[in-house]
Subunit: 283 residues, 2 copies
């Protein structure tokens, strides 16, 4: 059986109406026959968040839903608790604080069971904090709407489901390009992926496709011709500089090859188009 | 005499303390002997804004300061009013609403006098709305913190002091990358320049240098391999896509050559540096 997909959501995904992103997560987990485990370690309000996702997945006709909350590593090492996700076909990390997921789950029996299930084909989803944890190195916290500086971010080990990238969520809604660039420059050779709210990437076999309402911003600094990281490591308050990074804007239907670092247009869309729109004349 | 410089400010420039940006504007205008005209057409509060800049420039030891307010084109066509800037060595556009500057000044006698003075060497400065008007085509209004779509922006004729670019101000503070990209895609072959608050570019002879506190974000979509503008022109609500634009982040001391579209590192800074910073380990 192939390794399962990842559904990485920029937060605030629609839970009513079409619920496009959660619907896709459910579809990948087996549709009505999905067995979904929702992990609420990230949140301060596990009951409320558990209820929200129970309702959301029930609306999508899933009947087998487990809310798995762990407040500390001892709980996450519990054999009976881990057993509750042993048959899961979809494992979903809620939002909250990404640091709690790492502190409470990483390296525990629960973590090992999640990895086993993923290797056996279960889809792993995560929203907001649950998206941040996907890389090997994640943004633990950072300042919004600021220019790139090492001092505005704190990086930390992530769950490592998607190596080689840094992910930021609520991306355009919270003005996080400076934060993503800071994270990216602090981690050479990673790819920066900024995911808007109610927007997700679905990763399968080293490619992802965008679904949902907003856009995914990809910044690739591999091949950039200059940065001033040397000085910034000496003094984290220094304003970061970067020359000739690549920027891709990928809305719904667009994809990206993580191996070749190349964006992919939807079928039937030609690769270069240029035409001048009408201007509004003021006078 | 050479054409004067442009000092294009991302808004909220410091008016007390070092007042680095206004100080540079004054220096370029002749220092203590500068004759500065402040144009307040953009603002709803011309007296207050006039007082603010009178105080700011007096602090910088300028004694010859004219506040030139025009509420309509008839006023801006007045011979006596235009005569008030005929000896200006520095002309400064205040913030407010950029559309008012175009509606109230562009094409009038005042506009012609500004251009004459600029050609004769006077520096032109502008902050916020006064920065937005610098290109031939400007962002008249737009939505912040949203993904790129033609419907989120309205473009309009600018003053045209700096052709070939689109400028956005309060850039990272207001999360405007989506707005700048929308503007950029709507105007093929322009360069997108996002200027942070209390940050400015000083343009001289087809190059600019960054001064101030934040960063300047340059997006160059010349050479990009794909966009979906064709469809977006049919339906302005379509989410814009863009592949392989170039992204440059330029803090203070960095520059840019507008003719070659290449960023410039400060003297003594080598062009490629890479080193891994220390990670925080959570466990």
């Amino acid at each position: 059986m192939a390794k399962g997909e990842l559904v990485i959501i920029g937060g605030a995904e629609a839970k009513e109406g079409d619920a496009e992103i959660l619907r896709e997560f459910v579809r990948l987990a087996g549709g009505r026959r999905a067995k979904i485990a929702v992990l609420t370690a990230a949140t301060d309000a596990p009951e409320e968040v558990g209820d929200t996702y129970t309702n959301a997945f029930e609306r999508l006709e899933v009947t087998d839903i487990e809310i798995v909350d762990t407040r500390d590593r001892r709980e996450a090492d519990d054999r009976d608790l881990a057993a509750r996700i042993e048959r899961a076909t979809g494992i979903f990390f809620s939002g909250g604080n990404q640091v709690r997921i790492i502190e409470r789950i990483k390296g525990t029996r629960l973590d090992r069971t999640i990895r086993d299930r993923h290797a056996q084909g279960a889809v792993i989803g995560g929203t907001s904090a649950g998206a941040a944890i996907m890389p090997e190195i994640m943004i633990a916290r950072g300042d919004d709407r600021d220019n790139p500086r090492l001092e505005i971010i704190e990086m930390m080990e992530g769950m490592g489901f998607l190596p080689g990238v840094v992910i930021d969520q609520h991306f355009l809604q919270r003005g996080r390009i400076g934060r993503l660039l800071s994270a990216l420059l602090s981690q050479p050779s990673t790819l920066g992926i900024g995911i808007d709210e109610n927007t997700a990437i679905v990763v399968e076999n080293n490619q992802f496709v965008v679904i949902g309402e907003g856009a995914v911003t990809v910044v690739d600094e591999f091949g950039s011709t200059h940065n001033n990281l040397d000085q910034a490591i000496e003094d984290e308050a220094i304003d970061l500089a970067l020359f000739e990074a690549k920027l891709h804007i990928l809305p719904k239907g667009y994809g990206f090859n993580l191996a070749t670092r190349k964006p992919i247009a939807p079928p039937g869309i030609k690769m270069k188009s240029r035409q001048t729109p009408t201007l509004i004349s003021p006078l």
